[in-house]
């Protein structure tokens, strides 16, 4: 695991599909947009923290 400090996680919807497409969050104090792709290290860490109960992803606006 990478022990990233992830906060303010929120889904972003793809307007064309109306499905969650990206997670917007702050990683170590910077805002990032994370594709929902398990091969992406940020998304993998987000999923690990969610599974561990360390992080909650808010619904899209």
């Amino acid at each position: 695991m990478d022990d990233m400090n992830i906060t303010n996680a929120q889904y972003v919807v793809n307007d064309a599909t109306n499905q969650n497409a990206v997670v917007k969050c702050d990683i170590d104090g910077r805002e990032w947009h994370i594709p929902m792709n398990p091969a992406n290290r940020h998304y993998a860490e987000i999923m690990r923290q969610v599974a561990a109960g360390e992080l909650t992803i808010a619904d899209a606006d």
């Binding site: 022990d3 972003v12 793809n14 497409a21 910077r30 947009h33 594709p35 929902m36 091969a39 290290r41």
Partner: protein, 350 residues
């Protein structure tokens, strides 16, 4: 090593004459982020991950202290506190699985791998460098010795062929190559043989991270098939940059003017949809972030308030739904600029 010996070594190792170095940016020339990192698992020099999980800050950055003909090295500066049992300190390159298929690890065709590098440290003694798989249930530790403080020394070690274990040959982590600089005792193992433990150091490892003001430098890192080290494979700067951009790409300001890196069409006076073409195929769909304030420009320039990576991205393209200071109307076309006030980073590191 003489020319004849080099040639004999190459033939003996059945190694390729080119593209034999599995390590990317072994000479530390590529420094896209352009800044030191103190973040555990953060990156300063491309492809080299800083490891410093204890509470005292250690630092990694590019340095110009290097043995000729190298012009750069990676510098690790100690925070001055020893690691706790479960804490780590070091420098790691996570090697993509499909970049190390020539080793054949995990198969009956496995080959040994030889690591060579130039190293310099203010702390003399025993050091560990290890190879582990993605699942960290396969590990092999080699040791080397720093004989003289603050003096460049050339080192070479060999990892025995590993015929068992799961070694990814995909775009996941194939190998974790780790230079230890004082990790905790939970990671202590025995050098010189494969184990099924998550070991990356030895109990006699020099405590660089715990030594106030200690420094450790490395450059000319090469990992190749076979039991024989060969001369460092100097690749062109452009070749090495492209290899690094598979994992991290930074669109930034280089020459004093703004660079047009993408295009967008406004869907309102404050939002749009656009695309940024990536310079090389990235390992996986990247994450993205702005540094500072990039801008859009059509009939006039406006600051980007958010890049808004969308789901319409790939390994070749960053789809974006930018938001920007109010300007124009739906249907207007703008270029997306990076420049003196802001850039864009794309991350597909392992």
């Amino acid at each position: 090593m003489s020319k004849a010996a080099e040639l004999a070594a190459l033939i003996g190792s059945q190694s390729a004459l080119s593209n034999r170095n599995i390590i990317i940016n072994g000479a530390a020339e590529i420094y896209q982020r352009g800044a030191a990192t103190t973040t555990h698992n953060g990156y300063a020099v491309d492809r080299w991950q800083h490891k410093g999980s204890n509470s005292t800050t250690s630092t990694s950055n590019q340095d110009t202290d290097a043995p000729a003909p190298f012009i750069n090295s990676i510098k690790f500066s100690a925070g001055g506190a020893s690691s706790g049992a479960a804490e780590v300190a070091g420098l790691c390159q996570r090697i993509e699985g499909n970049a190390m298929t020539s080793l054949g690890w995990g198969t009956s065709a496995a080959q040994p791998a030889t690591l060579s590098f130039y190293v310099k440290s203010s702390v003399t003694g025993t050091y560990a460098v290890s190879a582990r798989n993605n699942g960290v249930d396969q590990s092999y530790i080699n040791t080397y010795t720093i004989n003289s403080a603050n003096t460049w020394e050339y080192k070479t070690v060999t990892f025995d062929a590993r015929t068992t274990g799961t070694w990814l040959t995909t775009n996941g982590i194939g190998m974790r190559l780790w230079f230890d600089l004082g990790s905790g005792s939970n990671f202590d193992g025995t050098a010189g043989s494969w184990t099924t433990n998550n070991h990356l150091t030895v109990s006699s490892q020099a405590d660089v991270v715990g030594t106030s003001s200690a420094t450790w430098f490395v450059t000319g890192v090469q990992l190749e098939v076979g039991e024989q080290d060969t001369a460092f494979e100097h690749r062109s700067f452009g070749d090495e940059l492209a290899r690094c951009q598979r994992y991290f790409t930074k669109f930034s300001y280089l020459d004093g003017d703004y660079a047009r890196v993408g295009w967008m069409i406004a869907t309102s006076s404050t939002a749009g949809r656009g695309s940024i073409r990536l310079p090389t195929t990235m390992r996986t769909e990247p994450s993205s972030a702005m540094t500072g304030t990039p801008r859009i420009e059509g009939t006039s320039a406006k600051n980007l308030n958010g890049l808004g990576q969308s789901g319409n991205s790939s390994t070749n393209n960053l789809g974006v739904d930018p938001s920007f200071d109010s300007h124009g109307s739906a249907g207007d076309v703008y270029h997306i600029d990076t420049g003196p006030n802001g850039g864009i980073e794309c991350d597909a590191e392992l």
